[in-house]
């Protein structure tokens, strides 16, 4: 805080001949410095050429005082002008000549700095909308629909700006539904992640000035251009809403342009997104695809299960399970596998016996075999007619579903030749 008293030499007893004083102070940035003279009693002379107090602002003389002044006069006429520019300096000089006819008390002043109100007192503050003063400075702000430019003073129409990357959203022209200032040039980019397509649904008022030509309305001066990759840009104007525009793209650019004439109330739209659709996965021989849906979209998974007795094969390799996802490019990330019939492998050979295929393709699912032992010297443990079927678990299982390693057990006590004696 800058404040204090500045007095003439000898005050209040009075100054002597050839007295002098040089005083100077500077205000901080955003502040002004003022002097308030409380008392003035100097020798009176023409143009204050004998005794005088001179006050300068930034070296420029702003006041020369002598004689005696009443407090009220000082308050109303002198003090208001003893003010520095914002951040400027005040200087004060005092001198007395060689003689005085009577003794004069001199002067007393109180100096102080104070905030400068740039918003009200500085015509050059250049805030185009709002100005807010604060101690030592000021700040500009803008109305809704505008943003403060890089110079911190200028308010420019806010065009929504940036990239709209949410899966749904709402866009509108500047100031909508109030007509915006002229010469608007706004760009909006809707860019959602790949795998989604954007649909634009214009709602409520659609009002963009058009020019009537022989060919019909023409978007000559004002327009909203919709640009979809790999397609011709569409210029929209008039008062008829385009309603719904399905783009089949995940990136859309909207350019809204008005020139400095005419009137367009603007537009607003809701955009929504849909997942891209993958082709129907098709049917699978000896297996099925789950879930069964009428349509498959981005990020949908499908699973494949083979019928009982079949195994999943991909690229010639058996796989435990299979799933594929609908990708952002509307293609399945893996092609469907195939279901191949299971194979139980060669049945185990049987010591002192053999195996006979009864039905089915050799070793494949549901093939049926029968083991036999070399009769009459061996018999099959568990019975002679045990058949084995190639089951879904790739094992040869008997009728009773039990995996039993067949065994030939020797036949005992039954010679092929019997002792015979017919003599009695």
């Amino acid at each position: 805080l800058l404040l204090g008293w500045v007095d003439s030499p000898g005050y209040p007893a009075g100054y002597l001949p050839h007295a002098s004083l040089n005083w100077s102070r500077c205000a901080p940035k955003g502040h002004t410095l003022s002097i308030r003279l409380m008392h003035l009693d100097l020798e009176e002379s023409k143009d204050c050429e004998n005794d005088a107090v001179k006050i300068f602002s930034n070296g420029n003389l702003i006041s020369v005082l002598c004689g005696g002044r009443e407090f009220e006069d000082l308050e109303s006429n002198v003090n208001p002008s003893l003010l520095s520019s914002p951040g400027g300096c005040l200087s004060l000089t005092f001198h007395s000549d060689y003689s005085n006819t009577k003794r004069h008390t001199g002067f007393r002043g109180f100096y102080t700095d104070q905030d400068f109100d740039e918003c009200n007192d500085d015509p050059d503050n250049a805030c185009t909308h709002f100005c807010h003063n604060h101690i030592g400075g000021y700040r500009c702000s803008c109305r809704h629909g505008y943003y403060l430019d890089g110079d911190n003073h200028t308010c420019t129409v806010s065009c929504g700006g940036g990239i709209f990357d949410e899966l749904e959203g709402h866009l509108f022209s500047p100031g909508y539904p109030t007509p915006p200032p002229h010469a608007v040039s706004c760009q909006y980019i809707i860019s959602v992640e790949p795998g989604f397509t954007v649909a634009l649904n214009f709602t409520d008022i659609f009002h963009i000035e058009s020019v009537q030509t022989e060919q019909g309305p023409n978007c000559l001066h004002h327009w909203l251009q919709v640009t979809i990759p790999d397609r011709e840009p569409m210029k929209l104007c008039g008062e008829k809403s385009p309603d719904l525009i399905v783009t089949d793209s995940n990136t859309i650019r909207l350019d809204y342009h008005t020139d400095d004439e005419g009137l367009s109330k603007g537009w607003s739209l809701d955009y929504s997104t849909h997942r891209v659709k993958c082709p129907f996965p098709g049917n699978l021989a000896n297996g099925r695809v789950t879930p069964i849906l009428t349509e498959y979209f981005y990020r949908d998974y499908i699973f494949v299960r083979c019928d009982q007795g079949y195994k999943l094969m991909m690229d010639g390799e058996e796989v435990e399970g299979f799933s594929t996802m609908c990708q952002s490019n509307a293609q399945w990330h893996l092609p469907l596998p195939e279901c191949h019939i299971l194979d139980c492998g060669e049945p185990e050979s049987l010591l002192n016996g053999g195996v006979t295929f009864l039905s089915g393709l050799q070793n494949q699912y549901l093939s049926v075999i029968q083991y036999h032992c070399n009769e009459p010297f061996y018999s099959l443990l568990g019975g002679a007619n045990v058949v084995y079927t190639c089951e879904a678990d790739r094992r040869w299982r008997s009728n009773s579903s039990i995996v039993v390693r067949p065994t030939c057990i020797p036949v005992c006590g039954q010679p092929t030749t019997l002792l015979s004696s017919y003599q009695r």
Binding site: N352, C412, G413, Q414, P415, T416, L419
Partner: protein, 248 residues
């Protein structure tokens, strides 16, 4: 075999000829690796013979042909209670021989069935005893090269016991009859097993199957009137047989 006949080919496919340090003994096939015989066949001077000294022949009825390809024994398992240092105690006269390699059965080699423990031995039932042991001819007892067989009936334990009691009075060191033995033969004599047959099968037949009722064990002379052949009663050893085979 006294009073027997030549066995036709493949009629006694379980019959085994054992060659034990120059002695001849019998045995019977009971599994594709196992031979059952008498314990006294595989003992010499009170000790088990070495398995390397046991040669096993099977599959043919003519010894001359049979001797061409002996089977090698792998191990000998004598009943742990057999103790007959002086040849007067034939109780528990049973042993098993394990063969090094299994044999494949066919019409000439086939196992004989084993009885369940407690199987009834009905006196009078005609049994079949076979072997390559000595035979009686008009010129005396000779060792045969042909497998012989003879049918002799099971006799009651009492009949047998009485016979042995009488024999003990006339002979010395006649062994005793135990419940682990039974007798077979005819009182008039002339049909019997004899030296060289021991260890061989005494087979009974039920429901078309031959089963090993006895093992040729001992007797007082051969084919003698009033004397019977004494056989190890196999059903008494079913537990030991099963256990020995399972553990080995």
């Amino acid at each position: 075999i006294i009073g027997g006949s030549d066995a036709p080919e493949n009629s006694i496919p379980w019959q085994v000829l054992l060659s034990l340090n120059g002695h001849r003994g019998g045995g019977m096939v009971i599994g594709d690796r196992w031979i059952m015989t008498a314990a006294h066949n595989v003992m010499a001077n009170g000790n088990p013979v070495s398995s390397e000294n046991v040669r096993i022949f099977m599959g043919l009825n003519d010894v001359n042909t049979l001797l061409v390809s002996p089977v090698i024994a792998a191990s000998i398992h004598i009943h742990p209670q057999y103790n007959n240092p002086n040849y007067v105690d034939f109780n528990h006269d049973i042993a098993l021989i394990k063969m090094q390699d299994p044999v494949t059965f066919n019409s000439s080699i086939m196992p004989i069935c084993l009885p369940a423990e407690g199987t009834a031995y009905i006196p009078g039932t005609m049994g079949l005893v076979t072997g390559f042991g000595v035979t009686a001819t008009t010129r005396g007892r000779i060792l045969t090269n042909k497998m012989k067989y003879v049918h002799v009936p099971v006799v009651t334990q009492e009949t047998c016991s009485n016979s042995i009691t009488l024999l003990k009075k006339t002979g010395t060191n006649v062994p005793s009859l135990t419940n682990n033995m039974f007798c077979a033969g005819v009182p008039e004599g002339g049909k019997d097993s004899c030296q060289g047959d021991s260890g061989g099968p005494y087979a009974l037949r039920n429901d078309g199957r031959f089963w090993a009722a006895g093992i040729v064990s001992w007797g007082v002379e051969c084919g003698k009137q009033g004397a019977y052949g004494v056989y190890t009663k196999v059903d008494q050893y079913r537990d030991w047989i099963d256990k020995t085979m399972q553990e080995n």
